[in-house]
């Protein structure tokens, strides 16, 4: 356990020093959400209908934005080899990195989502469900981001390829997340989709570290 916490601490400290790591996904989220009204229409009805989808797509893209840096900085300065050689399981270390990634990219999204939701005229009663759905969905997105980053860490410029690889895998999260939000907007209980989001999170968080560790080992060889 101490290995996990020390890895987590380390990554968070590094992220704190480069505050742009917090800011970039967040600003991206806000900007994308703000661009959609220009593309759609300023009318209340249109935005309320599109709002759920827009917010979730923006959240998805923002989570994946911080991807490349996940393992690359460790790769470049050589600490990745040290991590592989360490007696601790690489999967556990990757899990710690996923948690750090979530704190940096997922948590700010959850906190600012209500503000953006209101800008899309979504009813205030739906906001708690939206935040809770994002709370369950963003860990899955971080897990998928980790897999994508691990697969491309051996490449010179893996950036755009990562998105391409990971985005199709995010479809279930998108489906259940938007469904939960829509149900809340219409005043219904969103328990079903929320459970499914939780299941996806549990599933991806348990498998992503394994897959990522395997991919990293291959890339470092």
């Amino acid at each position: 356990m101490s290995v996990f916490t020390s890895m987590l601490e380390r990554d968070l400290k590094l992220a704190m020093r480069r505050w742009s790591e917090f800011a970039t996904p967040l600003i991206f989220f806000v900007i994308i959400s703000s661009l959609f009204p220009f593309a759609l229409s300023p009318e209340v009805g249109a935005l309320r209908a599109a709002g759920t989808g827009v917010l979730w797509i923006a959240a998805l893209l923002s989570s994946l934005l911080a991807l490349d840096g996940l393992f690359r900085t460790d790769m470049d300065d050589g600490s990745m080899e040290q991590l592989i050689l360490s007696p601790a399981s690489l999967g556990l270390l990757v899990f710690a990195k996923i948690c750090a990634h979530w704190v940096v990219s997922g948590l700010p999204l959850i906190l600012i989502a209500p503000v953006l939701a209101l800008s899309f005229y979504l009813p205030a009663e739906s906001l708690p469900t939206l935040m809770f759905a994002l709370l369950l969905a963003t860990p899955t997105l971080s897990a998928l981001a980790a897999i994508g980053a691990a697969l491309t860490v051996g490449l010179r410029s893996g950036g755009t390829l990562i998105g391409l690889l990971v985005l199709p895998l995010t479809a279930p999260v998108l489906i259940f997340g938007t469904r939960a939000t829509d149900m809340a907007v219409h005043g219904e209980s969103a328990l079903g989709p929320l459970y499914l989001l939780g299941a996806l999170a549990a599933f991806s968080l348990s498998l992503a570290p394994l897959a990522s560790a395997a991919a990293i080992r291959v890339s470092v060889e």
Binding site: I147, A150, L151, T152, G154, L155, G158, L161, L164, L165, L167, P168, L169, A171, P172, I175, F176, R179, L196, L200, F203, L207, A211, A214, A215, V218, S219, E221
Partner: protein, 250 residues
Amino acid sequence: MGLKRTFHLLGSPPTVYRLAGLLGPWVGIAAVILIAAGTYGGLVLAPPDYLQGDGFRIIYVHVPSAYIGLMAYELMAVAASVGFIWHMKIAHAVAVSAAPVGASFTFLALVTGAVWGKPMWGTYWQWADARLVSELVLLFLYLGVMLLRASFDDRDKGDRVSAVLAVVGVVNVPIIHYSVEWWSTLHQGPTIAQLDAPSITMDMLVPLLTMIAGFTLCFAWLILKRVQAEILDRESRARWVEQLVTGASA
């Protein structure tokens, strides 16, 4: 003892190469016969559907394509895992070969689905058809694996990294399929029907099974050919390859 020996033989490139060369023509001939028979059965022998008339005959090319597309991905994932775990080049060769073939059959399934959809739904595409949408996602997964592998200069790394992606993908396929199906039923009106023959009788089914078998053998022929090419590429320095080539040109 017999199983272990078979496993070892399957890992030996010259053995697999020669085996592929021997099997290839027979598999190919069988494929041609079955596809011809299936086509004839589907276009001529099968009676027209009481709802869709002769339009349903597209099923005889759409369903086999979709089946191959899905089966090829599973083969690719299994072969890639075997190659990853046991460091078998042959397994990676199978995975590399399965990808483009599977992707093109998935693409074919999408196109034939769209053409079938036009008279049935009135539009070429229907997001509410969960099976078709799942196939679209499957195509994206294929493209991802192929692109990832192509991005690596080191063939070994490319094999192993794309193997991880293939496994991640195959695990996700049922999840994606289930969630897309769930999503499509939410918004489905009573008029939208999935692409299928509504009630299938024996004389409609037999040509379909024949076509599926024929397509499978065609797929097998394509894989055998491509695996042979892969082996030649990967073993180009080996003496048996030199002997093979110089023997052939002599």
